[in-house]
Amino acid sequence: MGIGKCWKFNDCEQPPYPTIEVTVSSADHKATISPKVDTGFNGSLAIDRESVKTLSLAPVGTTLVKTATGHNEVSLYVVSISQPDLAIIQKTLAIGTKRSLVGRKLLEKRTWLLDCKKGRFCIITD
């Protein structure tokens, strides 16, 4: 087993948190973002308000989500996600949240290294 692609932790808060870089696109816009890795999120992507604005996304629905503090209603957006290191190119629903998150749906089927010592989140290769 070896270590493949790694992404640096974001140290804008303490302790720093793992991120993955993904390119998100709408019909007319594209943006590369580094959402926080949230293993408690069972969806694919949550997208923050600023990115929604940048990508000029229009909501296609609303749904209830369960958070640590109870149920919240969030907007739904259709986005295309591209992450070449994970061989991901897909159109999916993203939920609108305060900060961008990557959930388990994008992490599954991979082995990961959470290296807090070196502040990196990496794909483990066979």
């Binding site: 926080k36 949230d38 293993t39 408690g40 999120f41 069972n42 969806g43 694919s44 949550a46 909501p59 296609v60 629905g61 609303t62 749904t63 209830l64 989500v65 369960k66 958070t67 640590a68 149920h71 209603e73 907007s75 739904l76 259709v78 159109k91 999916t92 629903l93 939920i95 949240t97 998150l101 959930g103 749906k105």
Partner: protein
């Protein structure tokens, strides 16, 4: 909003007259007329087909359904209840086009993939939950 939801619950897609509001919902004629004029101005209702000369009919504006769902909150919940969707789709995600449920699924992403794989008609469709989803999206933070 209350009389509008009552109209949705009672008439759904069918056209209705002032007299129908009086008969079915027990409204006073003046109140019914007031509601119709206000709701038409707000585009909640649109003109229906004329059944007899000089007798106007009204219908719920199907595009309002999408707007209310996108706005969310209590009005969305009340609208879904008024549309009678709780009995059939409780705990599921639905895709609505006007009044019509075009698709439904327990899994939000599976439904999204089916609905939005095709570019056409996306602008008219709205996805939402009916009650608390059985397969709810969870976020830890």
């Amino acid at each position: 909003m209350r009389p509008f939801l009552e109209a949705v619950r009672t008439f759904k897609l069918k056209p209705f007259r002032t007299a129908d509001l009086v008969e079915n919902l027990g409204y006073a004629t003046g109140y019914a007329r007031n509601f119709l004029s206000q709701a038409t101005r707000q585009r909640l209702l649109v003109a229906g087909p004329k059944e007899r000369k000089r007798e106007k009919t009204f219908m719920v504006n199907p595009s309002v359904i999408r707007k209310i769902i996108l706005k969310g909150g209590r009005e969305k919940e009340e609208l879904i209840e008024a549309l009678g969707l709780h009995s059939k789709y409780l705990g599921e995600y639905i895709a609505l086009k006007g009044f019509e449920v075009v698709d439904h699924d327990l899994n939000l992403y599976t439904l999204g993939e089916r609905i939005f794989s095709d570019v056409e008609g996306q602008d008219e469709i709205v996805i939402t939950n009916v009650g608390i989803p059985k397969k709810i999206i969870t976020i830890e933070i």
